[in-house]
Amino acid sequence: MLLAMPSLSAAATTEPPAEQQLEQLKQQAIALNRELFILEEELLFPPQTQLAVFVSVDAGSFFQLDSIQLKLNDEAVDAHLYTASELEGLARGAIQPLYKGNIRAGEHTLTAVFVGIGPEERDYRRAISHRFTKADEAVLLELKITDSSANYQPDFSVEVWSGN
């Protein structure tokens, strides 16, 4: 007998009401999550004051990320120590939402300090700064870590997202 058959017969029966109800509850949870998220964004992080920072990694040969410290106008605002699963996600193309906060309109400087293992397995620490002007639009910045094949070193840059 096909090994699959017992499971087939179980799976083939009409979905029990409990399962349907559970799906409905999950749908409700998804809808409630969304509604709350929108209200939260509107109240806690309006575009006029919002600053969001993301991280992406397209590297591996020359740099292995360990942690990131984030400073805004020389004041530490966030730090993140990466787990193996987070690094795996980043390596597979995911973008991490690292920080979200509120700032005043005007000139600001964001500094990110990257700590990890660099070329030849050496401890590596590198900081980059980005000056920007906060106006009415939300400021969305992506910290990008890439491999530079030109100098066999990791490359760190900031990309400003637009149209968000």
Binding site: M1, L2, L3, A4, M5, P6, S7, L8, A10, A11, A12, E15, A18, E19, Q20, Q21, L22, E23, L25, K26, Q27, Q28, A29, I30, L32, N33, R34, E35, L36, F37, L39, E40, E42, L43, L44, F54, S56, D58, S85, E86, E88, G89, L90, R92, G93, A94, I95, Q96, P97, E142, W161
Partner: protein
């Protein structure tokens, strides 16, 4: 144990294709790398936060086709097959939409939807969508082939020797081949089945990395096994067990015994292997080994039917060997064993509570065993776990709602303070300032009309002239007074006139600069007043924000009510499921009790029979 193993492995066979539908393709990865919203959703996905990933996806309006496919995968991760199927059906039935998907992603959608239809016993529909797959299927070919096998079972091609080359490197290869072996067994062709099994044993591949799409659509049964060492070990064990079964089919008892004697003692398939080994040893009359196996069954699997039966079989083996005294002792031991099991069975009558379920240590060994072994109870327990997760998420939302409520209250208080106190005060001061500025402008205008207005001398640079102007005015006054008193002051007046002429000249000399500076200062003052006016206007407009805040407050209240209703629904559902779980456990307990009582009766009969024989033997000896 047997049933669970059967389900786990059958899950692998039935649903590996269907479950882990998406394989890693360069195309899919590159698409992900170019689309930030999807990459953000992917972050939450890789952190196993599927609700957050869905939320992120819902924020993007780009590429509805791909968004739908990703949503479908995430819904599947949340164990929502019906919602997944609805999304996939919409996607596939809308040719314009699905046409925008890359070929391989469309294939993924087709496979997943076919799988769902197959599980719903809509085989024709499943075949219809499966037939729309467009090649080359690449990594999906193994899954597609497995689904085709299941749709056509038992009429599958068993003479397919090319399968090893065609699906080389695919994780589904073993399952496709095992299905062929099982079909051959069903057709009573154990010999070719054994040949194929040997080939498969030699070709079991090491694991390959799991790609994004594959991981995205991982679901249910496949989770504990897929692409893992445990999966490979379970497969190897299953093949060994299958081999023994095929040898038994061919009545090759000695070979079957040889295979089973080497079976791993710590496999998930150890229990069915021991049961088969028991039967083979019985057939081969290997009594010492058989007694050992029966004893192991009793010791290792206290909740299995086979173990209860083994207790009786021990005595039965002695009886068959005509060792009546030993048989009687064994049967008596079995009687005590059944009595003990019945007492234990009564102890299982206490219903489970939610807190016990929340902590695995809160369950008895028997309860844990049943929740693992019984598909229905396993499902109920999984659903209760899902509800618990929903409750935790809801608690987080309630905390966030509370925080938002505080934020709104704070902002409203701020607004209130601004509108009732600060704004009127600021407006009054601004108006006073405006009035002063207007008065000053009028005063300057009238001073300008005078030949040499005192207040229009420039600041620091003309202070001396201003003082001279004051002194001259005083002197003129005294000269006029003296003249009125009859004194001759004509000379002094003449000199004063000359001095006034000089002062007038200085006054006129700086006139342009004086006027320019005055105009500039007036303009600056006007501009500053205008700016203050605008700022006040902006503040006044915040009055409109109060309405918005009040609206948000209402929205928050409505959401709190919704959450409250949701919480109540969760509670009701939880109680229903718990009742179902306890009812299921009780049914099992009662059925086991009946079984134990029956076995005990059967064993008692055996005791009576052996005692009778012993009595007869004793009487014969006397």
């Amino acid at each position: 144990m047997v049933r669970q193993l059967s389900i786990m492995l059958s899950g692998r066979l039935l649903l590996l294709v269907l479950v882990a539908a998406l394989s890693q393709t360069a195309m899919a990865e590159s698409l992900l790398r170019t689309e930030k919203q999807y990459r953000l959703a992917a972050w939450h996905f890789y952190q196993d936060d599927y609700y957050q990933a869905l939320l992120q996806l819902s924020m993007t309006a780009e590429s509805p086709a791909k968004t739908s496919l990703l949503q479908a995968g995430l819904l599947l991760q949340l164990d929502m097959p019906a919602a997944t199927a609805r999304l996939l059906q919409q996607l596939l039935d809308d040719q314009t939409l699905s046409g925008k998907l890359p070929r391989q992603l469309r294939n993924v959608a087709l496979l997943q939807y076919s799988r769902f239809l197959f599980e719903q016993q809509q085989s024709d529909q499943a075949e219809h969508y499966l037939g729309q797959l467009s090649g080359p299927l690449d990594d999906l070919s193994g899954e597609a082939e497995l689904l085709k096998q299941l749709l056509n079972w038992p009429a599958i091609n068993t003479a397919d020797s090319g399968v090893f080359d065609r699906l080389a490197g695919h994780n589904e290869l073993p399952y496709v081949v095992i299905n062929q072996i099982l079909a051959l067994r069903q057709q009573q062709q154990p010999q070719p089945a054994l040949v194929m099994l040997e080939q498969l044993n030699n070709r079991l591949q090491p694991e390959t990395a799991t790609g994004f799409w594959r991981q995205l659509f991982r679901w249910r049964w496949s989770d504990p096994l897929i692409s893992s060492d445990s999966e490979r070990q379970a497969l190897a064990d299953y093949l060994q067990l299958l081999q023994a079964g095929l040898l038994v089919d061919q009545l090759q008892w000695a070979d079957a015994q040889q295979v089973l004697s080497q079976f791993a003692s710590n496999s998930v398939l150890t229990l069915p292997a021991m049961i088969l080994y028991r039967d083979v040893l019985t057939e081969n009359r290997q009594i010492p080994s058989l007694l050992s196996v029966l004893q192991q069954l009793i010791d290792r699997y206290p909740y299995a039917d086979a173990s209860w039966l083994a207790a009786h079989q021990l005595g039965n083996q002695f009886e068959r060997a005509l060792a009546q005294q030993d048989a009687l002792a064994a049967y008596r031991w079995a009687d005590q064993y059944y009595q003990q099991q019945l007492t234990i069975n009564s102890g299982h009558a206490r219903p489970l509570t939610l807190s016990q379920l929340a902590e695995s240590s809160g369950l008895s060994g028997w309860q844990s065993y049943q929740l693992r072994q019984q598909p229905g109870l396993f499902q109920l327990n999984s659903q209760l776990n899902a509800l618990q997760q929903l409750q935790q998420l809801q608690q987080q939302r309630l905390d966030r709602l509370k925080k938002l409520g505080e934020v709104i209250d704070f902002k409203l208080a701020q607004q209130q303070q601004l509108l009732t106190s600060a704004l009127p005060d600021l407006s009054a001061r601004q108006q006073a300032l405006q009035l002063q500025a207007e008065q000053l402008a009028a005063s300057i205008a009238s001073a300008k009309a005078e030949p040499m207005a005192m207040q229009l001398w420039l600041g620091d640079s003309e202070q001396n002239y201003a003082q001279l102007h004051v002194m001259l005015s005083k002197a003129r006054g005294r000269a006029d007074a003296l003249s009125a008193a009859g004194r001759d002051v004509a000379d002094a007046k003449q000199r004063l006139s000359r001095l006034e002429g000089i002062l007038q000249w200085h006054y006129q000399y700086n006139r342009a600069q004086r006027h320019w500076q005055l105009d500039k200062q007036q303009q600056q003052l006007t501009a500053e007043l205008a700016r203050i006016g605008q700022a006040l206007e902006r503040l006044s407009r915040l009055d409109g924000k109060t309405e918005r805040l009040l609206l948000q407050q209402q929205q928050l209240a409505a959401m709190t009510v919704q959450e409250s209703q949701f919480g109540a629904a969760l509670f009701v559902q939880q109680q229903q499921l718990l009742a179902g779980l306890n009812s299921g456990l009780e049914q099992i307990r009662l059925a086991e009790r009946e079984k134990l009582l029956e076995m005990r009766r059967f064993n008692t009969q055996a005791i009576a029979r052996v005692m009778e024989q012993l009595l007869l033997t004793s009487q014969e000896e006397q």
